[in-house]
Structures are given as C-alpha cells and as structure tokens.
Amino acid sequence: MLLKPTLDDARRIAVDLGRILAVVAGAGLIPLAWAIALGEWKPAADLILMIGVAGALAGIAEMWRPKTNTQPVWGHGLIVVSLVWLVVPAVGAIPLALSGHYGDLIDAYFDAMSGLTTTGLATIQDLDHLAASTNVWRHSLQFLGGQGIVLAALVFFSASGALSLYEAEGRDQRIFPSVGSTARFIWLVSVVHGILGISALTIDGVVAQGFEWSRALFHGFTIFMAAFDTGGFSPQSTSVGYYHSASFEAVVAVLMLAGALSFGLHHAIWQRRAGLLRNIEVRTFATTVTVTLFVTLTGLAVGGLYTETSPLLRRGFFQLISAHTGTGFATVSSPELARWGGLAFAGMTVAMALGGMSSSTAGGVKALRIGLTVKSVLMTVREALTPSRTVISRTYFQYGRHRLEPDLAGSVMTVSLLYVALYLLGAAVGLAYGYGLAESLFESVSAAAAVGLSVGVVSPDMPVVLQLIMIFQMWIGRLEFIAVFALLGFSLSVVKGR
C-alpha cells in the first residue's frame, strides 16, 4: 500500500532543496566578482537576478520549515537529490538564457543541465564572444555538479539525514565516519588539485603559449574546473584544440585522470596506504583504459588518418582519456572525430560507456560495477564447471576483502543493465530522426555517461524531442537511477497514496 506523503514531508524536502539553492546563490558570487572586475555590466545584472531568484527560493523554503521536528527518512534524501538536479539547472540557466547566446529556453536549460551533470555537450551559439563571467558561471556549474552540489551544501549546513542525501547523489563511499568530514575532505582534495592545476595551466599558458597572464589565468581557471570535474566545457569553441600545445594537453590529461579516480582512492594515496593496486576498482579501471586505448590506437593506425607514431599517440591518447574519464574535451573537430570510424570509434564509444570510478566526478557504468559484474559472472561459471562439493570463495578486494553477496552482485548488474538500456534509448531516438547508428549510439552514450564528446548531432538545430531525451539521459545517468525512481514513486504516492 502506498502511503500518501504528508505536508510535513513536502516541507522537509523543500527545506533541503532551499539550502542547496542557497549554495547556488553563493556560488554565483564568483562569476559576479569576475563580471565586476572586467566591467561586464550586462552579465553582472543577469547574475544578480539569478542570485536573487535562488536566494528568494531558499528563504521561502526555510520559512516553510515543518512544524514538527521530524527526522528525514531515506525517501527524503533521494527525492531531494532528484529534484535538486532538475531545479538547479533551471535557476542556473537564467544568466545563460539572458546572455542572448541561446536560441530558446530549452537550449539554455540543456546547457545548464549539461554543465551540472558534468556532461559538456553544448548548444550555445557564438561561444567565442560570450562574456568571460558567463563562461565562468558555466564552468562553476560544472564544478558544483562534479563535486556534488548536495555535498557542497553538506559542508555549510549540518543537515540531518546527511547520509541519505550524500548517498542519493550517487556516492557510496564514506571516507570518514561522518558525512560532513567526508564532504570537507573531498573539497580539500579539490582545492589542492585546483591550486596545482590552475598554476600549471596558467604557467603553461604564459610560458609555452605566450598568453597575457590574466588571459592565461582565465584559461587555467576554466579548463581546470572542466578537467578535474570531468565536465568538458571549454571557454573557446574549439575546446582544448584551441591551445595547439602538447604540454597543455598533458596537464589536462593528468587532471582528467585525477578527476576520474574515486575520492576514497585519493584518500588512500594521501595516506600512502599499501595494496591499492589489489583493489578491484583500480585493476578494472586500469584494464579498461589499456584495452580501449589499444583498440582505439589500432583503429586509428589501420584507418590511416595519422601516418606517424607521434601524432597518432598524442591524438589517440588524449581523446581516449577524455572519453573514458567522461570529460569530453576534444583536440580534433567533430567532423574529424566522425571520420575516425570503425575500431577507433568503437573503442571510444565503449570507453565512454564504461566511465570512471565510483564516488568520483565521472559518469558511466563505473569501474567497480564492471569489475564486480565480471567477477560474479566468472565465479558463476567456475561453480558450474567444478564438482558440486567444491567451495569457491566469492570474495573481492576493495580496501580489504569483502564477500560478494548475491544481493550485491544482483544490484550492480541491474544498474549496469539500466545504463545499457539508457544508452539504447537515446540511440533509438537518434535513429528515428534519421541519424546513422554509429553516430546515434556515440551521442547517446556521450549524454547518458556524462561525457560530452560530439560528432555533430548535438547542435542548436537538433530536434527538440532528442534534446529533451538527452536532458533526461544526463539527469538520470548522473543520479544513477535510484533517486529518480524514488521521485517517480513519490509522485505516484501523491496521486494514489492513502
């Protein structure tokens, strides 16, 4: 029997939603400062409006606090998170829509959702003349999304029910017993990487590329946020190809890989904990990167697009890492990427579908699920092939030895299959609109796995239905299904509950 939610349930959800919007309002101060510093007054006014809307909604939600001091239950966290990832793009799209660089509101919402989910697909027009402050806002959305916007709120608000909020956002590893401490550690890792990454990119910009230091800082700041949070937005229309610099690409590749590692692994590395290479997740990620890189490079070599080893390795390695980590930066144009074809195209598509590690900023099925699925299948085969009295150890190593329970194996396989279904859904819609199978699948995987590479399907002229499907894919793919299912259940209980 479905229980009808009470008004207090709705109030509790609204309060958490409001507090997260307060964080969005605070984050808007960064691009606002940028706009004021550069004298970009029109974008500044648009940003103030966005900050005002987010702040007012946060205030109204706080006023509407429940009358009883009830503790939130699991369902609240899931519903809050699924709503946050719908509402924040709507508020975040305000300065984008008012910038005059989007054809309609759906385009602006598409880009805001793409930013927040760290996808990186874009329908913006004339990006090369976009105000720097609006560009910083696009990248701030990616940073907020990559860090986990709920996680950001947990640093500032000691929310009751923090654990449910934390886990509902697609993170299942707590580094410290307290969620607040875990959130602070994740932000510490990001700040340290930020200082190192922005410095390295800025120095490369000044020394190797001869940029003015202020412009080098702008490029370093925006590219860092998109690289470490595996977002893929770029301040210029030609993405990382704009820089024509192997050293810049090398720094970006390191940041992309760092972003795709789980924060638990970051903590273990900081602690210099031994035996990290035994982790099933590390082994799976290393294996899938190696295999897909080999496939992609072989495809490029056979295809004859790059006749010398150095260009082949540079282009192939960067694009593959960009795809596998779910970043979506490009050093080749969309038409060029479409020409890769065959084996290289397949390698890239599979790499995008697999994604990074769990509890990282990357999307996709995730290495842990792949590793556990493969392990479970292999164990089942072994059990079938060995005598019935033989005892087979169903364990795996992930920061210690754990038993691979049937329930766990079943749930990782279910989520993996849901991702496959999501990839096929977008591909089917693309096919229905007359796009080829390869490009439909590539673009669908790119959206659902929060990657952002495109071979030209995503554009300001794309069909609206396909655009809406991709918004749905980005949303449900980032939240890893469960939170969205909870929202659907909640909606149903509002109508049919007793």
Binding site: W41, G55, G59, I60, T68, G100, Q125, L127, S310
Partner: protein, 172 residues
C-alpha cells in the same frame, strides 16, 4: 557600415571557407589556400611564430549584437604565421564586446601534419589586415534585473533568518 560589411563579405567570398576544409581535409591537405576571418581569443606568440584562431563564421562578418541574431555555432581554424607578418596595429583579438581584427591569410592547409604532432592548421606565409579590431556595442545592463535580483536576494536573506528562528518547544 553597410559598405564595410559588403566589402568584407566580398573578400570572404574569394577565400576558402573553413567549413570546406573541415568537410574534405584530405582534398585540401598541403594545398595553398586563402582564408579570411576574425582573429578570436588570444595571440599566442611562440618564438618566431604567432598562433591564433581564425573564425570565418557569420559573426565575423556581422557581430551578434549588430546582426540579425543567432546564426549557429562558431567555425574556425588555427593559424600560424611568422612573427614578422603580425602587427600590433591589428588590435586585440575578438572577445565579448570586441570584434577582432579581420585578416586575410595566405598559407598551406596542413591536415594532421606529422611534422607538427598531428596538428590541423594553416601554416600562413602572408597575413594582410582587412579591418582592424573594433568595439561591439553590447546591449546595456538591465537596471530592472539588477534591482529585482537585489530585492529578491535581500528578501531571501530576511526570510531565511526568520525561518531559522527556534520554533520547537523543548520537552523537559
């Protein structure tokens, strides 16, 4: 203004569009081409050469605030020219609030050039200024939006603080 745009369009018509180079790079590879467009973003001065991004899209001919509206995404290509061909008199590259210098570059189109670690670009030998950089008059800031935003932000802060006041009676 109309005459300037017309002459610019005439110059651009005689050049090879970047979209053609993108569509059939193998056909154009190692061919001498003329491209005309707006320098965007930054000048990247590296020793004896200068790199820049050259856009030949609709916004190069007519900047967004001055034209008929949105006309698609940017199209452009990286260009490398000898430093001797570059002049500071061209003005700053195009960005928000500024249309970059329009230049005509004569050079060789290189597709995945092995000598340049796979770069696709125009190795320019000559560059001629067609039109210097100039400011673009962007729409003015909306005072209404700024004031409305400020009022809502203040309202939000007030409501937030009011909402945070203790409301529950503690049981002894």
């Amino acid at each position: 203004m109309i005459r300037a745009i017309a002459s610019l369009v005439l110059v651009m018509v005689t050049a090879v569009p970047v979209s053609d180079l993108d569509a059939e790079p193998d056909m154009w590879d190692s061919q001498e081409v003329i491209v005309v467009g707006e320098i965007i973003g930054d000048f990247s001065a590296r020793g004896e050469v200068v790199w820049f991004q050259l856009n030949d899209d609709a916004y190069a001919a007519t900047p967004l605030p001055e034209g008929p509206g949105l006309q698609g995404t940017n199209t452009g290509i990286g260009v490398r020219i000898p430093r001797s061909e570059w002049s500071e008199t061209w003005g700053e590259p195009g960005r928000y609030g500024r249309r970059g210098p329009i230049v005509e570059v004569t050079g060789t189109f290189l597709h995945n050039s092995p000598a340049d670690q796979g770069e696709t670009f125009i190795d320019g030998s000559q560059a001629r200024l067609v039109e210097a950089a100039r400011p673009i008059a962007n729409p003015p800031a909306s005072a209404f939006r700024a004031i409305a935003g400020l009022v809502m932000a203040l309202l939000g802060i007030g409501l937030y603080n009011y909402g945070r006041r203790p409301r529950y009676r503690r049981r002894v």
